[in-house]
């Protein structure tokens, strides 16, 4: 198996369902028919290349604490400055510019709702912009990773 086909199979098969045992990489290697060292080597390469953010659990927002999707309508000339202000919070994990009057979108996560309220108030106070606060009400589909398209 080439390194790139191993990478592909790891991404295809282990975006979820990674075993929680003492030697998870060995179990993954057994399932893919290669060595544990090859799996670790491949993951390290993917991480250095920026393809892999990390390996491990993705916490369920509603059970692991509190989270919300927030948006700000930022005057274009202030967008980068306000975005940098928002990104400073360790509680912000995604922060995107989007094409819309509400042009800055970010996900806030914290131990509880009061913690998020305090950040939203602080942002409003510091930027003079009122955030949209859009917590999830119902999940019809949650992200379990995504399928790679077939190799052309």
């Amino acid at each position: 198996m080439t390194a790139s086909s191993l990478a592909r199979r790891l991404i295809d098969q282990f975006q979820h369902g990674m075993p929680l045992c003492a030697e998870p990489y060995r179990v993954m290697a057994d399932a893919l028919g290669c060595s544990e060292a090859q799996v670790l080597d491949c993951l390290q390469h993917l991480q250095v290349a920026g393809t892999l953010s990390r390996v491990g659990p993705v916490f369920e927002h509603t059970r692991a604490g509190s989270s919300t999707l927030a948006a700000l309508a930022v005057p274009e000339e202030r967008l980068h400055q306000v975005a940098a202000r928002v990104s400073q919070y360790p509680e912000v994990n995604h922060n995107y510019a989007r094409e819309h009057r509400y042009n800055l979108w970010f996900v806030l996560t914290g131990p509880n709702r009061a913690h998020l309220d305090a950040i939203l108030q602080e942002l409003e106070h510091d930027t003079g912009l009122t955030p949209l606060d859009l917590p999830m009400l119902t999940a019809y589909r949650i992200d379990l990773g995504f399928a790679l398209e077939p190799t052309p």
Binding site: A22, G56, F59, L69, A97, P135, E149
Partner: protein
């Protein structure tokens, strides 16, 4: 029978897990050493969290941009409240939709209550895919907008456990 982790140890473990498992043959042993616990204690806690469905998934967290999925679009729809569950379930099963959530409206600023995420390699293909999806589900008459991302300022894992000593000031 393992001794359960202390509250402080389990909080520290959660922070470590949020940053990702070490790429080492015994990753839970490495984490155990960092919180002054044993590998079986750590594994027991992690399995308990999984049983409690604290994890959405466990595995590779891939940066879709680095894989060439650069067109990240958020489709938002204004669906009548009586229909939102049905429409949400249908769109949630559609191919190409990676997230489908109901969120509150904030009138008058924000009228949309159903949110779908779509990742694709090219913008025009994502647009065509969304149009097809809406027509197929007879939803193209509903008010909707497609918000493409134009810039990524920050992307990392969720931090539910605040860093020790970190506080929101004010």
């Amino acid at each position: 029978m393992n001794i359960a982790l202390s509250e402080q140890q389990s909080l520290a473990l959660r922070r470590l897990l949020e940053a990702g498992l070490p790429l080492a043959p015994r990753p839970f042993q490495v984490l155990a050493e960092q919180i002054d616990a044993s590998e079986p204690q750590v594994l027991e806690q992690v399995r308990l969290w999984q049983e409690q469905r604290l994890f959405r998934r466990v595995g590779l967290v891939v940066n879709h941009r680095a894989l060439g999925f650069a067109a990240n679009a958020m489709l938002v729809l204004d669906v009548p409240d009586a229909l939102v569950d049905e429409v949400g379930r249908r769109l949630g099963q559609a191919p190409g939709i990676s997230l489908c959530y109901q969120r509150p409206r904030r009138l008058p600023q924000w009228q949309f209550n159903l949110f779908c995420m779509i990742h694709g390699r090219q913008r025009d293909r994502v647009e065509a895919q969304v149009q097809e999806l809406l027509e197929q589900h007879l939803l193209d008459d509903l008010p909707h907008q497609l918000l493409f991302s134009t810039h990524l300022f920050k992307q990392c894992g969720g931090r539910f456990a605040p860093p020790t000593g970190a506080r929101v000031h004010g």
